[in-house]
């Protein structure tokens, strides 16, 4: 009988780690607070760079971890440190003694209504990246369904790189998500003009630059370099966006039928609480603190406590999955060393 391992969080990091641990012969216990696995990815439609269906990714992973002990709609109530490990109490009443805990607690999508000047939750035609993916999945959103959409805007860096919004980090994935969604909208509304309002285009990943060129060449997306300063609503219910076209050095305004806010990645607020139970502090960027940020990003200063995925900062799915695999190995090595 191998040692117990508790994985907190059933998103990509938690699932991929569970898969690897199963392959290594463990039977990890995975707790997920929501009623489904897959985390934020489960709410997404298609994934860059190859437009892989998000549901397929979640489904594949789910099938491969069915031998793990999975508790949905379950949270960690408390964790007691013991001599050789931890005693973890779940909200469903189950009590587990384990030697290793993996915090794969993921992120919260920045609450876009906090960028008050963008009017999310106030102006009718303002939505978030997540809302748009929901529409891609279900076709159900009164902001789009049945509307004559002629002009669409995407606002980069909503709740990212923003000291006032309490998150000065770059969320990494929004630039490419905006371009992906801009192209998807252009496909659905071929006659619409699509605008991206950006400060910098941070297209660092595999084939991202190809996406950018494709958006320029094939989709004809207009890229305006300037952070959106203010959004308002006109009598027709359209949104008016003000920005500086910094390349021209002029204030600019535009009327749009739909505005999509690229809500950024911030640390999962509940994870902070769970982490504090095992003395994992918060790093200066607001995410969970690793032992160090070069070679030991998946380890902590608390013995037997590991981290993976966006709990330590914004990451793409492949980066998260790679970390999850690494953490499975690290946990295995740790448990072997403890025997």
């Amino acid at each position: 009988m191998k040692d117990n391992i508790v994985i907190v969080g059933g998103g990509i990091a938690g699932m991929e780690a569970a898969r690897q641990l199963l392959l290594l012969g463990y039977k990890p216990i995975l707790v997920e607070k929501s009623d489904h696995l897959g985390g934020h990815v489960a709410d997404w439609h298609c994934l860059f760079p190859d437009m892989t269906p998000a549901q397929q990714v979640v489904k594949d992973l789910t099938e491969q971890i069915k031998d793990a002990n999975i508790f949905l709609e379950t949270e960690v109530s408390f964790i007691n440190k013991m001599k050789m490990g931890y005693n973890v109490m779940f909200s469903n009443g189950v009590n587990v003694i384990c030697k290793a805990i993996l915090l794969a607690t993921g992120f919260d999508l920045f609450d876009a209504s906090k960028k008050e000047e963008y009017g999310y939750g106030i102006y009718d035609q303002v939505m978030t990246n997540k809302d748009l993916e929901h529409w891609f999945n279900t076709g159900d959103d009164k902001r789009i369904t049945g509307k004559d959409i002629k002009k669409i805007g995407f606002v980069h860096c909503v709740g990212s790189r923003d000291v006032k919004a309490g998150n000065q980090q770059c969320s990494k994935v929004c630039c490419i998500t905006a371009i992906k969604q801009a192209m998807e909208m252009k496909e659905r509304f071929p006659d619409a003009e699509v605008y991206c309002f950006y400060m910098d285009l941070r297209l660092f990943g595999k084939k991202y630059e190809d996406f950018y060129i494709k958006a320029q060449m094939e989709s004809g997306v207009h890229f305006i370099r300037g952070r959106v300063s203010e959004v308002s609503e006109n009598l027709q219910g359209q949104v008016i966006v003000k920005t500086e076209d910094t390349l021209s050095g002029k204030p600019a305004k535009i009327t749009l039928d739909l505005l999509v806010l690229m809500a950024g990645i911030v640390c999962n607020r509940e994870a902070v609480q769970t982490a504090s139970m095992v003395q994992v502090p918060i790093d200066s960027d607001g995410f969970l603190k690793s032992r160090d940020n070069i070679l030991n990003i998946i380890e902590t200063d608390s013995k037997g406590v590991f981290l993976a995925g966006t709990a330590t900062g914004a990451k793409t799915i492949p980066e998260t999955a790679a970390e999850a695999r690494a953490v499975a190995l690290a946990i295995h090595n740790y448990l072997v060393s403890q025997q």
């Binding site: 950018y212 390349l247 305004k253």
Partner: protein, 111 residues
């Protein structure tokens, strides 16, 4: 009417609702690579004429994207067609060819 000693200042806000894309679209038809520009400024940095005339391929393209044809034409007059910009463009745009195409469009319009 009263004389007040001043008048209402004109707005310089760029109204993107009213931008005329027709010249940009015509250019893109013959020079599809025009769409590839990412405003990096390599062309302007290397431009010899730009130092004295303000010529910049980046700015010309931007002006055309914003419907400011006259301003683009004014800048283009500074170009010496040396082609250095083509050598440095990281997106591989044949900027010299693009400039010539633009001149041809302007030339056609003048006829």
């Amino acid at each position: 009417m009263m004389e007040f000693g001043f008048s209402i200042s004109p707005s310089s806000t760029m109204n993107l609702d009213k931008v005329d894309f027709s010249l940009y679209e015509r250019l893109c038809e013959i020079e599809p690579d025009a769409k590839k520009c990412m405003a990096c400024g390599s062309c302007s940095a290397t431009c010899t004429a730009g130092q004295w005339t303000g010529m910049s391929v980046r700015k010309v393209l931007l002006d055309i994207q914003r419907g400011k044809e006259a301003e683009a034409a004014r800048l283009l007059k500074g170009c010496m067609l040396c082609g250095k910009c083509t050598m440095v463009c990281p997106r591989g745009i044949n900027t010299r060819h693009l400039i010539l195409s633009l001149c041809r469009i302007y030339g056609e319009d003048e006829k």
